[in-house]
């Protein structure tokens, strides 16, 4: 099993002819994802070629969904147009929109996120690596080769740090049900708790890795949710223990304001709520082994 995507996922790539969109479409197809359509305004009627055959391109999401019964989309369009693309997707009838695009203005996202909520569409991201369910497919940019099928769910605000953790799990012979990157922007669609709740309901997920970072209180709320709701073990990691307050550390959301959102605080709340915290990325692997009784 897996969360949010599985073999029934029928994906549209928004911005399929762009630099990132075209590269990652081929990667997604290679990872077994059923990419049924692409959208690039003005290029409707053309075909996007891959090793597994051609993917039809449409001008609009409506046309793509109508022609292919797609149920998910992934957004690679440039930041100025990305919030519009998210809303177009949400309006077209898909259930899941994964926004990879980095650099979308935050106030645009407050509207776009409200729009997806009005339509009960799950938004993942923006500014996130997407998600992968090894063996079933991926939506986004997480490298397939570092993953393996197995019993661990991974949820993270980060990209490459997630790869690091997943890579180490895989090398140690521990596979994953689904790895989800929720993104580092202040406004994101799917948060930690949404993922933890989904992992809780997935019978194949036997432990979860939660990778957070400084800024905000999402990790703290998630930790409390874990202690109140989760039966399977959760292992945590927080990046940014050496980050100075008041400075944005790469992710727009990674900033310590006043005394809130520090790594110390988050680690403390994790531990108070029964989440074992790895001090180094490499410790994640060991704590998970312990949690799984390996």
């Amino acid at each position: 099993m897996s969360i949010f995507i599985d073999t029934s996922t029928r994906l549209v790539v928004q911005g399929i002819t762009g630099r990132d969109g075209s590269f990652h479409t081929r990667q997604m197809v290679a990872a077994g994802t059923n990419v049924v359509a692409g959208v690039t305004p003005g290029k409707g009627g053309q075909t996007f070629e891959t090793d597994q055959g051609g993917i039809p391109i449409f001008n609009t999401m409506d046309e793509a969904v109508e022609a292919t019964q797609a149920n998910a989309s992934v957004v690679y369009v440039p930041p100025a147009f990305a919030s519009g693309a998210i809303m177009e997707a949400a309006d077209s009838g898909v259930d899941l929109v994964v926004a990879i695009t980095e650099g979308i203005p935050v106030l645009d996202m407050t509207r776009a996120f409200a729009f997806t909520q009005d339509r009960d569409v799950r938004l993942l991201g923006p500014n996130c690596p997407g998600l992968i369910s090894p063996g079933k497919g991926k939506v986004g940019i997480i490298p397939e080769q570092i993953t393996a099928e197995g019993p661990v769910g991974v949820v993270s605000r980060s990209g490459t740090l997630t790869y690091e953790a997943v890579h180490q799990l895989t090398q140690a012979g521990i596979g994953q049900t689904t790895c989800v990157g929720i993104g580092g922007d202040p406004i994101i669609g799917t948060n930690f708790i949404d993922c933890l709740a989904a992992f809780s309901e997935d019978p194949d997920t036997r432990a979860v890795v939660m990778i957070g970072e400084i800024g905000g209180t999402d990790e703290q709320e998630a930790a409390q949710w874990v202690s109140e709701n989760m039966e399977i073990p959760v292992v945590g990691f927080i990046a940014g223990q050496t980050a100075p307050p008041g400075r944005t550390m790469g992710h727009a959301g990674a900033i310590i304001s006043g005394s809130s959102g520090t790594a110390e605080e988050k680690i403390r709340v994790f531990e108070e709520n029964g989440i074992a915290v790895a001090r180094r990325p490499v410790d994640i692997r060991d704590l998970i082994k312990e949690a799984l009784g390996l």
Binding site: D20, P79, A80, E102, G103, I104, P105, V106, L107, D108, T110, R111, F113, A114, P129, I141, I142, P143, I146, S156, R157, S158, G159, T160, L161, T162, Y163, E164, H167, G184, P186, I187, I211, E213, I214, G215, G216, T217, D218, F237, A239, G240, Q241, T242, A243, R247, T248, M249, G250, H251, A252, G253, A254, G258, S259, A263, R279, R280, P281, V282
Partner: protein, 378 residues
């Protein structure tokens, strides 16, 4: 992007918010002339992107143009929290009956813009939040509807009892929200919002942060950028599309991805070292970005060792390797470079580095520990 107080006031004025007059001076002469033109008492205020200007002696009251000149002389060139003052704002001194706080920011928890208002203005709002949280009213704004009249009214009555003041404050909140939205702010605050003895409500200090992501569509706001007000290394990093923050340590870090970059810094600390910087070279890196990164890191005389930690996903390890080799040809790099590379095109990268005489690690812990140990001995 932070903008100066005088620029924030300009945006507020355009939105109709009552802001006292005044202008910016770069020299004591200019400050004196401005003070003379305004007449009466003025305040001379350092324009730097940091708080605590008052405590640092960067805000002074002057009762004459000559005194304004003296203050400007003292303040211009002063360092406040490591930033040099290049400009002062000269603005009339106002009689103040009361001070309040009004701010709008993006609240991650509410997933929306949110107002924060407090009748305790003129002080650090974080401090008020800690000491007297009941003195702050938070009001999340539904992005689909914007600020609604009853929300503005409720906040205004939290600040004032007198209906005359409530009416003025409600209007100012509407204008502030408009300014916040039209300029894609992540923060827009008035602190203090004063009441004068004549029952006029006015914005006396203004602080605005613009969402960097929105700058491409806001050329007029982008033009407010003051590169004098930021360290040259950060200007250079921004121009090279690198995410960089200067720190005080001696281990220069060059990483792809913000989370991994922070985790790398943390690991430096774990092994007893001290990071010299946060630096994320981003996803789709090319050799030029790596060169720019090395230039920025090596410009810091504290740096004793340079540490690369690259997990290739979108980033191709061979691009990074090429960048390192190219940089060592173009610029004189004194500190030794410790490199960890893994992921996409790892083998090609290792070959490139080997050909150029570098060795490389594949474990993050190993490379960090080695680099830290070198720095400790250097």
């Amino acid at each position: 992007m932070d903008i100066h107080e005088y620029q924030a006031k300009e945006l507020f004025r355009k939105a109709g918010i009552p802001v006292p007059p005044g202008d910016v001076a770069r020299t004591a002469d200019e400050a004196e002339a401005l003070a003379r033109a305004l007449g009466g008492s003025v305040v001379v205020k350092a324009q730097v992107h940091t708080g605590g200007r008052g405590k640092a002696g960067g805000v002074k009251l002057a009762s004459s143009a000559e005194e304004a000149r003296e203050h400007a002389e003292a303040i211009l060139g002063m360092e406040i929290n490591g930033l040099t003052v290049h400009k002062v704002l000269v603005t009339p001194a106002e009689d103040i009956a009361s001070e309040a706080y009004v701010g709008v920011l993006v609240d991650r928890k509410k997933q929306s813009a949110t107002f924060m208002v407090s009748p305790e203005g003129g002080v650090d709002i974080e401090q008020v939040a800690e000491d007297n949280p009941d003195a702050i009213l938070k009001m999340p704004i539904d992005p689909r509807y914007g600020l609604l009249p009853h929300q503005a009214y409720r906040m205004s009555t939290f600040l004032y009892d007198d209906p005359k003041l409530v009416k003025q404050a409600s209007k100012i909140m509407g204008q502030l929200y408009r300014a916040f939205n039209e300029n894609s702010c992540s923060l827009a605050e008035i602190n203090p919002l004063i009441v004068t003895p004549d029952d006029e409500v006015k914005a006396i200090d203004a602080k605005v942060t613009i969402d960097d992501n929105a700058l491409p569509r806001l050329p007029e706001v982008e033009a407010y950028r003051d590169t004098d007000a930021e360290p040259p290394s950060e200007t250079k990093a921004r121009e090279a599309s690198l995410s960089f923050v200067k720190l005080d340590g001696n281990v220069g870090c060059c990483v792809n991805g913000a989370g991994l970059a922070m985790a790398t810094m943390d690991l430096v600390k774990y092994y007893g070292g001290d990071p010299a910087n946060f630096l994320d070279i981003g996803g789709s890196s090319n050799p030029e970005k790596v060169i720019a990164a090395l230039e920025i890191i090596t410009a810091d005389p504290n740096v004793k060792v340079i540490l690369f930690n690259i997990f290739g996903g979108i980033t191709r390890c061979d691009d990074v390797a090429n960048g390192i080799v190219e940089a060592t040809k173009q610029i004189d790099i004194e500190p030794p470079i410790y490199i960890r590379l893994t992921g996409t095109n790892e083998d090609e990268a290792l070959q490139i580095l080997k050909d150029a005489g570098f060795s490389a690690y594949t474990s993050m812990d190993e490379v960090v520990e080695t680099a830290v140990n070198f720095a400790a001995q250097a």
